[in-house]
Symmetry: C2
Subunit: 176 residues, 2 copies
């Protein structure tokens, strides 16, 4: 069990709590208790989820991860607004390697709004899955809504996936 | 291999092609070919997907299903607009039984827009997963966008899940 905050960045980050068991309680005492998924929560693919979370990283969440043996990877990415957006290629690449490594699954990708930084990372995953750009942008826009940024979509389009192509891809729709 | 159109309804339907292998081609000849997922495509949970498709059911799609051993379940549900909306409880219940049966996975839920009928069915799945209503509606609205209907959300809220509670629930986030 390890809580790895070494890569923390108070300016903002995309974070990846890995191997989380966040299933709702199942014993009869709480059978009617509502399960509250994180805001903007969705399944990206087998073992990969996305949501938003407050920044800076909440102390209570860090304690929860610590107590439940969940590893946290943080990649400091400045979430500042256009036209000052500058998404670092290397950080996205590092985060992709963590996400694509099935030993880290299930993994939850999050940032402050679950739109821009998380959207860029998910967009790059779709590039690796060879989704056409129109479908990648459609998904990006579904989560970003009125906050969608052309610069994010340009980043996704131009991101160089050649060095990551050797990673075994996960395809949710493949037969087991 | 069976193409089951017995429940077809020209007024509209929610359709469930089950056990589809829709992974992109992997041989080297087409390594750079873009993969075009269906419109409004998303993963609901392990083995459950959603999208939209044209109505009436396209002949070419029916032929594809036939040629690939994919079973099609169709549940005729009128997709008419408010205030004439009347989502039939029994059809949603039948469809839920098909979706929840892991022998049918992977399963793709679709309707004409992938918003209202599919949104109601997915909302009922979330009820069974005990998601809180605010999160169920948030997901519904993400896919319905400007076409979101209060009547659909009311249907989801009031749908009686008691008879379905004995079904084994799928929780994507549970440890294997």
């Amino acid at each position: 069990m390890k809580l790895d905050n070494s890569n923390s960045n108070s300016n903002g980050q995309v974070s990846l709590p890995a191997a989380a068991d966040v299933s709702p309680p199942r014993n009869s005492d709480d059978a009617d208790e509502a399960f509250v998924p994180p805001l903007n929560f969705a399944m990206v693919d087998n073992g990969i989820f996305r949501c938003l979370c407050p920044e800076p990283y909440p102390e209570a969440t860090a304690e929860f991860l610590n107590a439940n043996g969940i590893r946290l990877y943080q990649f400091g990415i400045d979430g500042c607004k256009e036209p000052f957006v500058n998404i670092p290629n290397d950080k996205i690449r590092e985060a992709l390697k963590v996400v694509l490594d099935v030993r880290n699954h299930p993994v939850l990708i999050h940032c402050k709004r679950g739109k821009h930084r998380t959207g860029c990372l998910v967009g790059c995953i779709r590039r690796l899955q060879r989704w056409c750009l129109s479908s990648i942008f459609d998904e990006y826009q579904r989560f970003a809504g009125a906050k969608a940024r052309v610069s994010d979509q340009r980043f996704i389009e131009l991101f160089d996936i050649s060095s990551l192509k050797h990673n075994p891809l996960i395809f949710s729709c493949s037969r087991k």
